[in-house]
């Protein structure tokens, strides 16, 4: 079973040379720490930076330089700042090639819910609705089940949607799943996790291949 950093490490394998990548808040942010040396990748943060670098050395934080999670960051050589309209022009115009974001629920037809629990919690969608409606390549990073132990991979989302039919791949603490033809397709299992555990933790339709390789991390 993977921890959050493990999920991030597995997702880092999805990143290809030459890609512009948008990482959401939470587990997705950790993906940046696991990009292999020598891979040319630039991180976009939708509040207005391309070429985002690591957190600043203590004492050099700049209140004017943050990411979409409101964390202080740095800018790498070749970085560029821009306004929010230009930022979403990049996203909506599909210039950002890979989007990684968290979710509360994902359905077997690729719907995603991650912004609202009616009557309980409403933080807002931020840029997530633009990201999922636009990106060609969306990877969801999340735990396979919620705190109550219920599956977050469902046949239909119960929470208000963020986007419809958009998620292509889900990486959880238990498995890598592809979504196509209205079903989850098990691709890999996390180290030490059995297919049975994954089946038990998945509510939506699940297609099992003959052989399910363990992730190599």
């Amino acid at each position: 079973m993977l921890d959050k950093n493990g999920i991030a490490r597995r997702i880092a394998q999805e990143v290809q040379n030459g890609q512009y990548v948008n990482l959401g808040i939470g587990i997705p942010t950790l993906v940046a720490n696991h990009i292999p040396e020598g891979l040319d990748v630039e991180f976009q943060s939708e509040n207005g930076i391309l070429g985002m670098g690591p957190f600043p050395i203590e004492g050099t934080e700049d209140a004017d330089l943050i990411n979409a999670g409101k964390q202080t960051i740095t800018a790498l050589p070749g970085a560029v700042f821009f306004d929010s309209a230009t930022s979403f022009a990049m996203i909506r115009g599909q210039h950002v090639q890979l989007t990684v974001l968290g979710a509360m629920e994902v359905s077997a037809n690729g719907d995603i819910a991650n912004w609202k629990i009616p009557g309980k919690m409403v933080k807002g969608m931020g840029g997530a609705m633009d990201l999922v409606a636009s990106a060609e390549n969306i990877v969801v990073a999340m735990m396979h089940t919620n705190r109550a132990g219920e599956s977050k991979l469902l046949s239909t989302c119960s929470l208000p949607l963020t986007g419809v039919g958009c998620v292509k791949r889900v990486v959880t603490n238990l498995a890598v799943m592809d979504i196509k033809d209205g079903a989850f397709h098990l691709v890999e299992r996390a180290p030490g996790v059995t297919v049975e555990e994954i089946v038990n933790a998945t509510d939506g339709a699940l297609i099992l291949p003959d052989l399910v390789p363990e992730m190599s991390l």
Partner: protein, 234 residues
Amino acid sequence: MAISKEINGVEEACKDVKDGMTFMLGGFGLCGIPENCIEELVRLGVKDVTCISNNAGVDNFGLGKLLKKSQIRKMISSYVGENEEFERQMLSGELEVDLIPQGSLAERCRAGGAGIPAFYTPAGYGTEVAEGKEVREFNGKPHVLESALTADFAFVKAWKGDASGNLIYKATSRNFNPMMAMAGKITVAEVEELVPLGSLDPNEIHTPGIFVQRIFQGKAYEKRIEQRTVSQNK
């Protein structure tokens, strides 16, 4: 020859705000917010206002101050997750809230400033955000019709500015400020540094002065950091 927008300070900048008006306020989280103007709006006690702002500040800073004094009737935002008082007012029904996708918010402000009354975007299709809105397919993909936003006043914060109202923002404090500057009937710019006319390179200006009606040099910027994150010194 240049048209001067320079005024004496924040009191003159906000002198004619009225109850019930719609305001736009630049900033992302607490980054790039018009701190001086927000303080003045709190002091003036203007109420029943609609605020268009990506976020709603935190409990004791930024728009949170207006919220605490119940001056805001309606918020139009994309993300409000840092503010408990906000959540309380919203769930209790005291505060009307219109949550819209961040990219649609940015583009709707730009459209308001650019004389484009409406445009189509894929964002929000199939979600409650699209309810009651026209949906049309382009290139085989459904899109939602979104309308322009404008405001009685837009309050923006820049790094440098000149008397003509030309503005330059620093780093990611730019965010929503340029589009909101375009969309205000009266746009008030507060700047950290008001520089002499002609000292800004005309190639480097982010907001052309034509979009700004009033400009002044702000005071005592706190520039609070919401998430102070650091790397270990290697």
